[in-house]
């Protein structure tokens, strides 16, 4: 059974139809990159899967581990193992990273039938994960994303992902706003999380992220549909020829 199966998904934001029939199958262990020009619907797809308000599914079906994903609330999806790394991580002033992360982790653990972690075990775990992302432990006592630089915010997203141990990681333009050093650190963090039980969907505009996180499949999204799919070579073609090359071609949606 695939981890995620998207069938003919249509969705709109307010009155505007953005996704116009997406078909995509993701198996555990795979990394899929979704590329496309601005406004093609890449971020919308990630947000629809996470269950954000204001994104209305008008038709189609999404199965997650064989069950109807669209029936679940946002927090239920998160606890079931769907993690969205935000393009613009949100600030929550006055709430420390440590408190936020511990609350989230224990909510997720409780759902999975695991014991809640106490402060000591939590600290030990989070410090180990922070090393991987070259983060200073001082981050734990700062407000969630409060006054963080762009790079710090993105690293913080990957830290949260590492802690919450999802089955499906959705990375929404994680490379945007990152300098090359931060990009490498973030990519290393993601690569360390790759495993046969976990899949990733990377939404990105540029090829450069894929130099560091090598995808198994690349899909080109434009006008709310997947126009073409291929392996990592497709991304390189795009880099050379631009999106015009695919969009200009006789559009045909290819499932994987």
């Amino acid at each position: 059974m695939p981890l995620l199966e998207i069938k003919n998904l249509h969705a709109r934001v307010e009155d505007k139809e953005i996704l116009k029939g997406i078909n995509l199958t993701v198996n555990a262990g795979e990394v899929h990159a979704i590329m496309g020009p601005n406004g093609s619907g890449k971020s919308t797809l990630a947000n629809v899967l996470a269950g954000r308000d204001n994104y209305e599914v008008t038709s189609g079906e999404v199965l997650y581990e064989g069950k109807n994903l669209l029936d679940l609330d946002v927090e239920e999806r998160a606890r079931a193992g769907i993690f969205l790394a935000f393009q613009y991580p949100i600030e929550i002033p006055g709430v420390t990273n440590a408190h936020f992360l511990k609350t989230a982790l224990n909510a997720v653990r409780k759902h999975r039938g695991l014991e809640e972690l106490d402060a000591m075990d939590f600290l030990a775990l989070v410090k180990e994960k922070m090393k991987l992302l070259e983060m200073d432990p001082g981050f734990l006592n700062r407000g969630v994303n409060e006054g963080f630089s762009g790079g710090e915010k993105k690293r913080n997203e990957i830290l949260q992902m590492a802690m919450l141990d999802p089955k499906l990681g959705l990375l929404d333009e994680t490379d945007s706003g990152l300098d090359i050093d931060s990009l490498k650190i973030v990519a290393n963090g993601v690569n360390a999380l790759r495993s046969p039980d976990r899949a990733f969907v990377l939404v990105t505009h540029y090829q450069r992220l894929l130099d560091y996180i090598e995808p198994d499949f690349v899909h080109v999204l434009s006008g709310g549909k997947i126009l073409t799919s291929g392996d990592k070579e497709l991304a390189k073609h795009l880099e050379e020829r631009g999106y015009g090359w695919v969009v200009g071609k006789d559009a045909k949606a290819v499932g994987v």
Partner: protein
């Protein structure tokens, strides 16, 4: 919360039916207000002549005053002749054990983490004579006495320490101060009195919890705290448990006096009955609280968490008279359903190099209206005065309101003033972010609100801060989504 309060109301209503009527008649004086009533109150309390004269002066002055209308709150006209101004402690039919107390009330207690003994005290369960808080209270009282600290009811102070009362009563809030303070001066029932002698650091938080006869101080409470030179005291007022009271109008007065190098820290958690979801009933809490930093290098710090009452109308203030004295005001005010709050502070800078800090956090939910009103006044002689003000408002939903009225009067050009103000909505984005991490909506709201209030909560004594956080979450339950 509202349901709990309704349940609470039902219970207290029942008590009224059974216990009250037979035993109370003889100890209640007639409704209404006139000189005879004032004399009667004073006589019932065996007060010395100076006290009666003071009450009468206040009453005569009150007759010449008009009820204020400038505040940003709405309520029906109060008939001052339809109020009982004196009644002896009420005899109630007490539940025999907590099992007889409404399960919803107990649920609220449990959410607040209130101990069983405290639950029994609050619900009026009849307990044995050797009740924890009383014996603990007595033990503490002995220890305080050894250090020369006076901590007793106001009535007791009038009888036992008349010179101190005479010297400081009305020295910060004169009997002619304002409509409600003047009314209080004429008819106040009881309250607390604290005196900390020179150079003594009070070794524990003084709170109404440990005061003998703490309950039933009534609707016109009066508190006077005097910290003599070089002394320190931290005083806690109120309780986080839901408080139900038959009296709709509460007009309390609190006066603080800090002499040279003395410090007073006054923390309040107010959770009176706020009225039901439609805005019926609830307490009108019209309070005058003011502290005077009379001596050099003295400091007064007000911290308040206001979640209850239908209407809250109070401005804990500091008169910074001594050179280098410091005034602080940290406030969280919550209005939910149809609650209204008009609260803030006044910082009056008189001495040189006086400093004041104001941090106000207003949270509005439901149809709640929350107003911050503050005055910072720098007098001519206040060389080098400084003020920092920060007023933040958080809105939950789209039917509530937040209003900010900062007033500034500066008569000395060396003053340094800073003012920051923000208004934000609990963002859909913040909620989505929390929920996407697996956190429930309720926990997410609590987390965001507590983060918003953090600057104020960290000023509260530790246990109080923990209780205040829980109280906030109970008060705002179900206000989003």
């Amino acid at each position: 919360m509202t349901e709990t309060n309704q349940a609470l109301e039902e219970i207290t209503g029942q008590e009224y039916k059974y216990g009250f009527v037979t035993s109370i008649e003889e100890d209640r004086i007639p409704k209404g207000l006139n000189e005879d009533i004032v004399r009667l109150i004073s006589a019932k309390k065996n007060e010395p002549p100076f006290m009666l004269e003071w009450r009468l002066r206040a009453y005569r002055h009150w007759l010449t005053m008009q009820e204020p209308t400038w505040q940003n709150v709405r309520y029906p006209k109060i008939d001052y002749n339809d109020i009982y101004y004196y009644s002896a402690p009420k005899q109630k039919a007490k539940p025999k054990s907590l099992d007889e107390v409404d399960p919803e009330i107990r649920e609220t207690f449990n959410k607040l983490g209130i101990s069983l003994a405290e639950q029994e005290r609050l619900t009026g369960v009849a307990v044995d004579a050797v009740f924890d808080s009383v014996s603990v209270g007595t033990t503490f009282k002995g220890k305080l006495k050894e250090m020369g600290i006076i901590f007793c009811s106001f009535s007791e102070a009038v009888l036992e320490h008349p010179d101190l009362v005479k010297k400081y009563l009305g020295s910060v809030v004169p009997y002619s101060d304002n409509y409600f303070a003047t009314l209080n001066s004429a008819v106040f029932s009881d309250g607390s009195f604290v005196y900390i002698p020179k150079g003594v650091r009070c070794p524990m938080e003084l709170s109404t919890y440990f005061r003998i006869n703490a309950s039933e101080t009534g609707q016109f409470e009066r508190t006077l705290i005097v910290a003599d030179e070089g002394s320190y005291v931290s005083y806690l007022e109120g309780c986080t448990a839901p408080m139900r009271d038959e009296n709709q109008l509460h007009a309390a007065v609190v006066e603080l006096v800090a002499l040279g190098d003395a410090q007073i820290k006054y923390s309040t958690v107010q959770n009176w009955y706020p009225g039901d979801k439609e805005g019926k009933g609830g307490i009108y809490n019209f309070v005058t609280k003011r502290g005077k930093c009379a001596g050099e290098n003295s400091k007064i710090s007000w911290t308040q968490v206001e979640t209850g009452s239908a209407i809250t109308w109070k401005y804990p203030s500091c008169i910074l008279q001594g050179d280098n004295s410091v005034g602080e005001f940290y406030s969280v005010a919550v209005t939910n359903n149809y609650q209204q709050a008009d609260t803030g502070t006044k910082m009056i800078h008189i001495g040189k190099n006086t400093r004041s800090t104001i941090v106000s956090k207003g949270i509005s939910a439901g149809h709640g209206q929350n107003t911050y009103r503050g005055l910072v006044k720098i007098n001519k002689g206040a060389e080098g005065a400084r003020n920092y003000s920060q007023c933040d408002s958080l809105l939950m939903g789209d039917k509530c309101g937040a209003h900010t009225f900062p007033y500034i009067e500066i008569k000395n050009s060396s003053a340094q003033m800073e003012h920051e103000a923000t208004t934000s909505k609990i963002g859909e984005d913040q909620l989505f972010y929390c929920k996407q991490r697996g956190i429930s909506e309720e926990d997410a709201v609590n987390m965001i609100v507590n983060g918003f209030c953090k600057q104020v909560f960290k000023e509260l004594p530790m246990e109080f801060a923990v209780e205040a956080q829980k109280l906030l979450s109970v008060s705002l339950e179900g206000s989003v989504g």
